[in-house]
Symmetry: C2
Subunit: 220 residues, 2 copies
């Protein structure tokens, strides 16, 4: 069952990280030839990787002109975060009654890892993964894999902006406190309180990002 990974998948994974990490600003062109040299592969797996990223909403193809990183409007970002509120509170409602002590322990350990990473001053790249891992740990017991997949899509598509907001506003600590609170509410089966907190948690992030984007727009 060797987890064989094609070169196309490897390129897609790495390129996704680079895009989400902010290496390519919105609208920049991704030339197949250059990427092929970067990864020391031919243009075929690069094309396939770009197609995958297109389906994830991270790049756009313009016929015979190449792939460009997408640039989301403020309105689109708000919309994506509203969708996250809708879907994530939906799964959380299903998940909380199903939470086992093992699930709670797992979520707790993710939080501790995250603390450790924070204290050691490690990079933000990792934080985003931890953040998703924590949310996923809470949602997984919902037993709704299709819904979780859509939530994952939303996270990927908006991931670049989440990181940006964290860099600019340093709200990591606040998010961290909210995570602890959320876990506690989940542990005690307070479904409605947890959903309310989650909603605020997501909406606050959206407002933070919108504020940053609008400031950038004005200065540009």
């Amino acid at each position: 069952m060797a987890t064989f990974k094609t070169r196309a998948q490897y390129v897609a994974d790495d390129l996704r990280e680079r895009i989400l990490g902010g290496e390519f600003k919105g609208g920049s062109q991704l030339r197949q030839d250059a990427l092929a040299r970067d990864y020391d592969v031919s243009r075929i797996p690069v094309r396939e990787a770009l197609l995958t990223l297109e389906s994830e909403g991270l790049v756009e193809f313009h016929a015979h002109r190449g792939a460009f990183t997408t640039e989301l409007s403020v309105a689109a970002i708000r919309e994506l975060f509203d969708l996250r509120v809708l879907l994530e509170t939906y799964v959380l409602r299903y998940a909380i009654p199903n939470l086992t002590t093992a699930d709670l322990d797992h979520a707790g350990s993710v939080l501790r890892q995250y603390d450790a990473a924070l204290d050691s001053g490690s990079q933000i790249d990792n934080w985003s993964d931890y953040n998703f891992a924590f949310h996923h740990a809470l949602y997984a017991p919902s037993g709704l894999p299709e819904t979780l997949a859509m939530i994952g899509q939303l996270n990927t598509k908006s991931g670049r902006y989440i990181r940006m907001q964290l860099v600019y506003t340093r709200e990591i600590e606040k998010a961290e406190l909210e995570h602890r609170e959320l876990l506690e509410l989940a542990r005690n089966g307070k479904v409605e309180d947890a959903c309310r907190l989650l909603e605020r948690h997501i909406k606050d992030a959206a407002e933070g990002i919108a504020a940053v984007l609008e400031k950038n727009l004005r200065s540009a």
Copy 2:
């Protein structure tokens, strides 16, 4: 503007129709070589088309074994339809207050076209498109393009089963009546009634599909 369509896109569009139309039953292998001969292209655009369909959830790649059409479990189908209820009532709430007379006329004309197609005894292939066109006409004024895109994804992914249910249960006429009723409620701004009807409309379809699938399972 450029109506240029790559061969990969052409193959993807056609193959999607064939899969949704039921030409390939669940789990059947799609060999690149055979498809390439079918479409008189090389395997490269075929591979790209298959990747696109993979991202839409219609096929799955098994490394070095090729692409297979996906087979959704009954649970997955129920989950997808529950998601449709959640997202479609969500956009409908936003759309109804924004509906212009032009929007209503457009939705009405879609329904009339659909009637005409029904009377002329034309194929079901077209019905699915009309169905989606009608729903889309109602939802578009919501001004939520990202959400509409996700709804489109859900429709694609479950499309094969929707057609199957229609073939088996001949519920087209019932759906048609509900569409007319839905349009009337929307016209009169009855948001809550419209959402309730829409919810039942979608859930009934889901139950019909689940019934057919479970019967097939038992006979297999």
